[in-house]
């Protein structure tokens, strides 16, 4: 019983609570923050332009990758073929086993 009464007293301890005082300067701080927001807003580039620029860069990147992947394979093949031709590796008659047949 004593314990329950004590628990009740603890729960009731905040019943007669006087509200904590506030600082009148908070208004000034919030107004200052709003002012700062408005100033930074003016300098911000519109989102539409940012997205357009990002899309252009992405398209350029894709085009670059596509064109590189298309040309890279072909040129490497051509280079190998030209080197083989230059050194005469395309001629298979060097590989006959019997030297008398040359």
């Amino acid at each position: 019983m004593k314990k329950e009464q004590w628990v009740d007293a603890v729960i009731d301890s905040t019943r007669r609570l006087t509200p904590a005082g506030t600082n009148p300067f908070w208004v000034v701080r919030v107004q200052q923050k709003i002012k700062q927001q408005q100033e930074t807003k003016q300098a911000v580039i519109p989102a539409k332009w940012v997205y357009t620029a990002a899309a252009c860069f992405a398209a350029l990147l894709v085009l670059n990758i596509l064109s590189f992947s298309n040309t890279a394979g072909k040129s490497s093949k051509n280079n190998i073929q030209s080197v083989m031709q230059q050194y005469g590796f395309m001629q298979t008659d060097y590989y006959f086993l019997d030297p008398s047949t040359r």
Binding site: V10, T18, R29
Partner: protein
């Protein structure tokens, strides 16, 4: 509302918002920051106020959501620090061994109020919020349901469970 009109608006509502944040966070500095953020948000999002609830309920909702975010961040940080206590789930673990007492508490009740605030730290966040909004901010069930965006029976259930859990927590502090 213009920035110039904000002064009168804040003077009218900041006391209630600050006290609610102070009770929830048990930290004066955080409560001050939250109060300012609430009015900044209210100013920026004033178009989103539809008028279906009172303006004070709307402000309470913003404040409570911000406080819950802070409490959950603290809880997450604490869970990382105490990896084996993460099983506590939504229960807010005591953020520190605080001896917080609301500055408006009558001197004779300070010791008991300190125990109550410590016990409140062990309640799940939604029960704690509902309890504080009802018992210290004196909001009605309907207002609490609007702040927490839930139904009135859910608020009743939250308050019932909050009181039960609070009694159990307080009993641990009893000394013969």
């Amino acid at each position: 509302m213009k920035a110039a009109d904000l002064g009168a608006f804040m003077q009218e509502h900041q006391g209630r918002i600050y006290n609610a944040a102070l009770n929830l966070l048990q930290n004066q500095q955080e409560a001050e920051e939250i109060t300012q953020d609430v009015f900044l948000d209210a100013y920026n999002k004033q178009q989103s106020f539809k008028g279906d609830a009172s303006i004070s309920t709307w402000l309470y909702r913003i404040a409570v959501n911000k406080c819950i975010d802070i409490l959950r961040k603290k809880q997450r940080r604490l869970q990382w620090q105490q990896p084996f206590k993460w099983m506590a789930g939504e229960t807010l673990l005591p953020t520190a061994a605080t001896d917080f007492v609301h500055p408006g508490i009558v001197a004779e009740n300070k010791e008991k109020a300190a125990i109550l605030y410590k016990a409140l730290l062990h309640l799940p966040v939604n029960q704690r919020t509902a309890y504080l909004l009802h018992d210290t901010e004196h909001l009605s069930y309907k207002e609490i349901s609007e702040v927490l965006e839930t139904s009135i029976p859910a608020v009743e259930s939250l308050l019932f469970r909050a009181r039960q859990n609070l009694r159990k927590s307080i009993e641990h502090y009893y000394k013969d």
